[in-house]
Symmetry: C2
Subunit: 336 residues, 2 copies
């Protein structure tokens, strides 16, 4: 006997970003029925749930799926989330504070919903889908507008006492580095996150340095990685500095948690090999210098997420599935 009605055979995972909402609709075997990324500026907290619900409906409509088949919705949000209360405590980049997103969404969609931090959701998704095979100790390191880590220890997502475990973007890596919006100087994010790479390029241009970036007038992180790949020396310097900082952060994560794998994801990793090469090169240098580093950083210690830009929405799918299976347990107990 299945307790999930046949018309509720799908779940939706929603990855909420600063400039887009990405939706995946999958079945119980994780077969993809629809995927859609809607470029949209997420609005004020009051309209957020409606925007997310609209995105889910638009994704279903586009794939000619009856939205009534969706039995649960999981949402990943870049910020602090209390998944038990279903509340986004603080999402700086979205301008949300104490938003009861789960209840708002359930009121609109009429199905069980759940909310989680996007990076932690992605780590949980990698775990649930067995993307890394038997590996049960790993970190999903997201490098995008911010930098943070979703940590899986012994097959469980590690949250920490305040739900902030893995917030390594604000670890100081260069005390003489740029001032971070958090107030400290030289946080990892001020050197290796997307906006930091873009800012370093702007500063180089403003300082009159010769670089191809000055003529394109475009210096977002992707453009800087592209220029570096094309041999631009200023861009190369910037991406090498970011790569060094990330490699040391990876080393620090491995020395602290003693994990088996660091999976890299997030917008900046979209530069692919251009992103990875400076990281690998610094890891090589550390291995060559130190026997201990060589042991702790085996050649397969890092990989770019096989999910590419969908690590977040796959994570949100896992959040939805976990919620749906809790519902099922409750339903079963009510029947028993």
């Amino acid at each position: 006997m299945t307790l999930r009605p046949i018309n509720r055979d799908l779940v939706a995972g929603v990855d909420v970003g600063g400039s887009k909402i990405a939706v995946l609709i999958v079945d119980a075997e994780l077969g993809v029925h629809a995927r859609h990324a809607i470029p949209t500026a997420i609005g004020a907290p009051g309209t957020a749930a409606q925007q997310i619900a609209d995105a889910v409906r638009a994704t279903a409509d586009e794939a000619r799926i009856d939205v009534a088949r969706i039995g649960a919705v999981g949402v990943g949000v870049p910020g602090r989330v209390d998944p038990v209360a279903g509340v986004v405590s603080l999402a700086v980049n979205l301008g949300w504070r104490w938003l009861p997103l789960r209840d708002d969404l359930e009121a609109i969609l009429g199905v069980p919903c759940a909310v989680e931090n996007d990076v932690r959701a992605a780590a949980g998704g990698i775990l649930e889908r067995g993307v890394l095979g038997p590996i049960r100790d790993f970190v999903y390191l997201s490098v995008g507008t911010g930098i943070s880590a979703g940590v899986v220890i012994d097959g469980s997502v590690h949250r920490g006492t305040r739900g902030l475990a893995g917030e390594i973007g604000h670890i100081v890596v260069d005390a003489d580095g740029p001032r971070c919006p958090c107030g400290l100087d030289g946080c990892l994010e001020t050197i290796a996150a997307g906006p930091a790479i873009a800012r370093a390029a702007s500063e180089a241009i403003a300082a009159g340095r010769r670089t191809a970036l000055a003529t394109t007038g475009n210096s977002d992180a992707a453009a800087v990685y592209a220029a570096a790949a094309a041999g631009d020396s200023v861009a190369t310097e910037i991406v090498n500095r970011a790569g060094r900082a990330l490699a040391r952060a990876i080393h620090a994560l491995v020395m602290t948690y003693d994990i088996e794998r660091v999976v890299l994801g997030g917008g900046v990793t979209g530069a692919g090999l251009g992103f990875l090469r400076p990281v690998l090169s610094e890891l090589d240098a550390m291995r060559a210098a130190s026997e201990l580093a060589a042991e702790m950083l085996p050649p397969d210690i890092v990989e770019i997420s096989a999910d590419g830009r969908e690590a977040g929405s796959w994570g949100a799918v896992s959040v939805a599935r976990a919620r749906a299976s809790r519902e099922e347990v409750v339903a079963r107990e009510a029947l028993a």
Copy 2:
């Protein structure tokens, strides 16, 4: 019915250091029956078990305790330990490699023995004895000849995939810092461990800087902290640099693990307030600069271990108790 014979009512915890062996003998209620620290250079691997057994016997004899009352012995060793195999894989400062210390000790003493990394043992001891009350997420940060962390997450000691979780002494904190014996430059240990503090003093003296340390001819870490407390400016500069690095390491541990407390122990913390003040002062500066740091580093985030120099031997006591209770389970199952 008690399965532990009445004449096996005590356990011994042994903390093995580079220059001393410290022994605690306690009863089932953790009442101390004997404590003894034997200043001795621990010898070659072949004599290590005998030296430890002798230290246990000497401690019992001194307190006029029949050594036959000791039902289990736990040993904490500064190095890599495989507690399941009972083997010390590598203890650099003791010159041990693949030493089957547990079996060697059991052959001499004839009672169940167990071996664990000293810092991890200390963390487990703090947990078992409830030293921090209800806190179940904390780090025991040992600052001595080396620096490493024993990590307790959700009431369990976290080992990591290679048993090396918490080896943060070899995280790079200043890429332009001194060369570390591990091969990397500017590891935390090269700035804040005891030998690093002593070396910084020697270098200042060799460079002809005016400091009281030059006249005493003694520049171990304790002497440097004493000189700083007496107002010596060179010594103050050295301990402030160490304190800053430790404060940043504490911040990094909290941001990574999201723990509630960092308990400081190890030889260097013997300098007490002189040790703690520069650490607290840097933590204050981070709190003042950053709202996030202020939230993550509440005023009670750090404390010096209440066990003082006995954190290691109390940890070894817990290792012995865990071994004894496993024996009891086995005995009970054999009887059943």
